[in-house]
Symmetry: C2
Subunit: 314 residues, 2 copies
Amino acid sequence: MVTPELNGGDVGVGVGGGSFDFQRYLSARADAVNDALDRAMPRGFPERLCESMRYSVLAGGKRVRPVLALAACELVGGDAAAATPVACAVEMIHTMSLIHDDMPCMDDDALRRGRPSNHVAFGEFTALLAGDALHALAFEHVARGCGDHGVPADRTLRAVAELGSASGTGGVAAGQVADKESEGLPVSLAMLEYIHVHKTARLLEAAAVSGAIVGGGADAEVERVRRYARCVGLLFQVVDDVLDMTSTSEQLGKTAGKDVEADKATYPKLLGVDKAREYAADLLAMAEAELDGFDAERAAPLRHLARFIAYRQH
Amino acid sequence: MVTPELNGGDVGVGVGGGSFDFQRYLSARADAVNDALDRAMPRGFPERLCESMRYSVLAGGKRVRPVLALAACELVGGDAAAATPVACAVEMIHTMSLIHDDMPCMDDDALRRGRPSNHVAFGEFTALLAGDALHALAFEHVARGCGDHGVPADRTLRAVAELGSASGTGGVAAGQVADKESEGLPVSLAMLEYIHVHKTARLLEAAAVSGAIVGGGADAEVERVRRYARCVGLLFQVVDDVLDMTSTSEQLGKTAGKDVEADKATYPKLLGVDKAREYAADLLAMAEAELDGFDAERAAPLRHLARFIAYRQH
């Protein structure tokens, strides 16, 4: 059972038979990703565009998606460094989707990660183009960067395809359209699942799968990682929905109660908060079950990551 | 000297020592690209998103960029089919940039290719996301498609990087920001060149370069293609500027006089129409000179393509 009283720190011991320190792992990996993102972000002309891109990408955040990529790479025996380009690319794509999602023609949200949204800080046309530039950079970064870490070109190409699918009609863009079209309408549980799977889960899945691919995972391992990440991705959104309903804006660092206000379909709205939490617990159990086939020590980061997502407070 | 009285048909003979029929070549290659684009565009759910993508991508247009990719591939001895995925990807990226460029927060243009702009036909949020989905599909399409034509993965990755650079801060997005920021301000010739090179020329360059790469061109050949295409790309924009000033909306299939109305910097505005035409003629000569090192017959399509761009009426 997932309860909001718990937090990630409470599940940091006793998994995988050892004393794995998840908070330390998460912090170290997030730091590595932040350094890599800082290096990957362009500086120079046009300054306004570069500043706008840096503003949103380097605004912090939990870096769940990139850490998922690194941990999946390590799970299949790869070196985390090999997955750094795909980890950064996933965060660039995610940031692009947030920038565009916050724009007036989408959710019209003025607050993101506790700061003014990109279009509020830099104006609409720069925000639109900063998103586009981040989107392009994501693919360029993977195409140029993976080879430096000895990743064979065919694996890198599979990662590019995976990320492209997750960002477009196979994922985020499709989910966003379905989400916007559903506002104010009665929404079935099937449609709600479609929206969450595409808008959120698919990119988390692509993060993990890309990490496993560049790490050299066998096809069967990659598919297990995919099923794990699909559950974790949906779990992430279900918890997000619950937090939007039960937290304050200050706790979240973004506008709380936004979904209710916009009359958006959410799990707690359709199922009630308790049932939504039960569903989250089921997803967590399913995700963890997919890790049982892997070495316990190597699987510890992904096991803790799933729990961290389930028990997080913001 | 480039004069608008001439057109593409007038330069269709006598090049490469033979009777190369450029109009037939262009038409056949454009048909092949249109078929491939039609197959590449998603159908299904969300229908509104897929229809919006198809609406803009399959709206016609001269297909100059994709034909450039196919012709560059053939120039270096490749089979045009190998370049079809990059040709389609370039057109998807180009269409994304047009959809976003037409939006109210950018150029606010209601007319494109003689029809309502995407956001006018489908609404703003769908237009924004259709652009994003096309952008993602471009990279996915290259990553998945090139291997089917026997293109080695390392070449395909170089094409992905080239296209990413041309779409982001190394190209279109940077050019669009610089262009928007310059509206209503005095603009130097250097800044005007920056805008045109990035906003327009860079993607035409990437089209040709990607085609040459997947076609198996040697590094020196690829660089000659790059220089050719850089000139052709700038030529394309200079002619575009001249046509905007000298044509009607009916002739162009888009709003004429738009640049003047928006107080945008253009070559004819800075240099006058005659000097702008002289510059176009210089660029054409430089582009053609880069082709002299190739077999005349193989170079004929790119030679005629440069002239077609120089002498076009819309």
